[in-house]
Symmetry: C2
Amino acid sequence: MEFMEDQVTSILRRNQLSITDSRKSILDIFIQAGSALAHHDVESRTAGSYDRVTVYRTLQTFMEKGIIHTIPTTDNSIKYALCKDDCQQGHHHDNHVHFVCENCGTTTCMDEIHIPAIQLPEGYQARQINMVVNGICRNCS
Amino acid sequence: MEFMEDQVTSILRRNQLSITDSRKSILDIFIQAGSALAHHDVESRTAGSYDRVTVYRTLQTFMEKGIIHTIPTTDNSIKYALCKDDCQQGHHHDNHVHFVCENCGTTTCMDEIHIPAIQLPEGYQARQINMVVNGICRNCS
DNA sequence: GTAACTGCAAAATATTTGCATCCTT
DNA sequence: AAGGATGCAAATATTTTGCAGTTAC
């Protein structure tokens, strides 16, 4: 955990969050993972170091600060992800593509792919667009 | 419920499901609603006529038969929807746009809007694409 | 020192499973 | 009549809340 220490504390500090073990640890887990994680994934990776309630509250705090965001899924699992650009630059842009691998289950944010505009019916106003692509990822193909 | 009786029984029969009160009733609820419903919504609309477990099992059965499908959401609610074309013609096409109103919470399937193609990075294969648009719907604008 | 964070206990909510009974075919 | 569907009870899983003790600043 030492390696990412600077990046982790920097993100927390920038968001006016006090630097605690659980926050550092959970944030580090996201950075190391590089993909989206469900509550359960986070919990299992902390290996019981922190109370389940702390994990819930930490995820919620990170959500409120915009450090992580949820990814829409068709099953009932809520997945959270830390998107590279958002976090390093401190501004949140939501409109990116998410890829869910049907083989390994990994969910990744494809920040670099922009979502094409679509034509909505009369009277509808879009504020945010999410695109979720299911298929086979690079590792599994 | 008499009005939709034919349509409802026809859908059930086509999917080799026995015609029971709860199935007719729940299917009718989806047809009447015209938008996506969470488990909770279905349950409250049955007004306690059926056991909660029956609702779970019925939704699962409908899912397996392809009568309804889930819609990706960013909150933890799973929403189920019956898409007009799918159900009337018995073939399932998943690639459509879903609109979630931030004001009234209604989720609708926009079957008529096709999802534009996107360019995925090397090695990724798309099988299904979901697009979820958040904004203000026609009724709320 | 103080405000905020954490852990524990417990409540509230959501989902699944087993089994006996009832209903559709 | 037989197989499948339902209701009930209960087990399991998930999420939230309150509060006392601890920690970051």
